[in-house]
Structures are given as C-alpha cells and as structure tokens.
C-alpha cells in the first residue's frame, strides 16, 4: 500500500493494527461461521480504500450481550451507543478490567489522522466518523446489516501524519 502511494515498500503500522483489532473482534465475539471475515483493498489514484466485513452478530448485538449498561444508556439512540463503544464507555461483564481496547484503538487512528473517512455499518446503525451528520440509526422496519462493515481511506496526508 505504501508502495502504491510513494513508490517505497514498507509496513504501514496503523493498517496492521486496525485489521488485527477488527478481525480479533470478529473471531472472538461476533460468532461468525468458521471465524470468517473479508478484507477488500482498492488502489485508486493517490489513495487506497480498505473494507473489512464480517457477517457475525454485529457490534451492537454483541454489546448488548456482553456489556453492562447504566439504565439511562438504554434511552440513547443506537448510533450514540455505538459511538460510546468506540470511546470505551462500557465496562465488560467478564470483569476483565484490561479488555475493551480494540474499538478505541481503531478510532484513535482516525483521530490522529493516520486513516481518513472511517465508516462503520453494523446492525441498524451507520457511523461516519468524519461527518457525524451522516451518522444515523435506521428507522424501525428498515433493512439491517447482520454483521459489521468497516471502510476507511489512506492517502499521503495520512502517511505524513505517521512520520510526524
């Protein structure tokens, strides 16, 4: 990927981190058949687009099973709950205080700019991290996505953020 953008072959560490975090969640929590997940990479002019998809339970369904939520959280919209998971707002019912670093690690890479245009689609929610006005919880009766889909882009600005 770095070779496509710069002509120099080397590892881009944030991509490995993000893919590990996502596939780790997929195979550990989402209950996908045979622990399968799918990686897509599209090389475009001056940017590379990544997608990762699994067809497990989806983050929200998994969250409601795994996490204890305070009573008032149940009144939040699902997109707010999902944002909370990326902000590490929920503690694990497994009582393992050291867990729940994966989704925040994905968001941290968006926050520092090593990836762009992060989108997460899961169950009845889509989050656009770069433009929250497009984020939403689907209205009741709309089709739902049974699983989790991530998309993000990397361009030379992202590479420069890592170097700096």
């Amino acid at each position: 990927m770095i070779n496509h953008l710069t002509g120099v072959s080397k590892y881009y560490l944030p991509v490995k981190t993000i893919i590990l975090e996502i596939c780790g969640n997929s195979i550990e929590w989402s209950g996908t058949e045979s622990r399968q997940w799918l990686l897509g990479v599209k090389y475009e002019t001056n940017k590379v687009v990544f997608t990762v998809t699994d067809v497990g339970k989806g983050i929200l369904e998994t969250l409601y099973r795994r996490f204890t939520m305070r009573f008032f959280e149940t009144f939040k919209s699902n997109d707010e709950v999902l944002k909370g998971a990326f902000d590490k707002k929920y503690s694990s019912t497994t009582q393992e205080v050291n867990r729940n670093k994966g989704l925040p690690a994905v968001k941290a890479n968006f926050d520092i700019g090593t990836i762009n245009k992060l989108i997460v689609l899961t169950n009845n929610v889509i989050l656009h991290f770069d433009n929250n006005t497009f984020s939403k919880t689907f209205v009741k009766g709309s089709p739902r996505f049974k699983g989790t889909f991530y998309q993000w882009e990397i361009n030379n600005d992202c590479l420069n953020k890592l170097m700096n």
């Binding site: 881009y12 981190t17 622990r35 393992e96 205080v97």
Partner: protein
C-alpha cells in the same frame, strides 16, 4: 542490562491476545519469551529492555496480554522497577502499557482474577511471598 526485541526474539508478525484465536499471540509471547527473561533479569538484579519496534504492527490485545501477565506474575512494583519498554515507532503502545495495562492487571492480581490460558504451557515463574516459584499455574478451561 538484558535486551530483547519482539522482532528478534519472537516474530515479525505479532497477532492477537490468545493462542486459541491466532498464531504469534500475546499469550504465546509471554509464555515462550517474556516470563523467562524477566525471571532472569530479576534474579540477576538487572534491568530488562523490551524493544517493540520494527515488527509489522501490533494489536492492543497482544501487548495487553503479554505485559499484563508480567504484572500478574511479578507484581506491578517489580515490573515497573525492572522493565524498560522501547517503542520509538509507535510511542502510544508504551503509553498504553505503562498507563493502562500495568494498573489494570495489578487490579486483576489483587482481585485474584486469574489470567486465562488457552493452551497448555510449560511451567512458568511467579513471585509468591517474594520467592520465585515455577509451576503450571493455570490450565485451559475445559470446552
């Protein structure tokens, strides 16, 4: 001073938390490498330096499991005094280990919330009443 690196002493491709979900896991790194080298450093009264740089990249869970188990087996005090982490390429990992993982696993240790192992390991070292003891402390949960 004893120095190891994940690249030279374990793998260029560190992966996920437990052995039952990936090769080159944090659990494996701990049991094959990290536990023994800290035991050696502790006995010799030397500092252990662990270099995280130059691999293909990390998942938070790999580092959390490997360094967290150190705290569980050797205590936060011993780990803080005896380990230096180098992570020039991605300094946020050093920050996560030292400011989250260490404290969280010390809490686990004090609460006797045992580490989970997902395969059978050879005996490993743990400090008990300031004495190093070697045995198989945990077994995989029966499926």
């Amino acid at each position: 001073m004893i120095t190891i690196s994940v690249l030279e002493n374990f793998s260029e491709f560190p992966a996920l938390r437990h052995c039952n979900i990936s090769d080159n896991s944090g659990e494996e790194f701990y049991h094959k490498v990290l536990n023994k080298v800290l035991k050696d450093a502790y006995e010799k009264g030397e500092k252990l330096t662990v270099n995280l740089d130059n691999t293909a990249g990390y998942a938070s869970s790999f580092l959390d499991e490997a360094f967290g188990n150190l705290v569980y087996d050797f205590t936060l005090d011993v780990v803080k005094k005896n380990i230096e982490i180098i992570s020039y390429q991605e300094p946020h990992w050093k920050d996560m280990i030292e400011n989250q993982t260490y404290m969280q696993w010390e809490k686990r240790r004090k609460n006797n919330q045992n580490p989970k192992v997902t395969k059978n390991h050879e005996a490993w070292f743990r400090l008990e009443n300031n004495q190093l003891k070697s045995k198989i402390w945990e077994h995989p949960a029966a499926v």
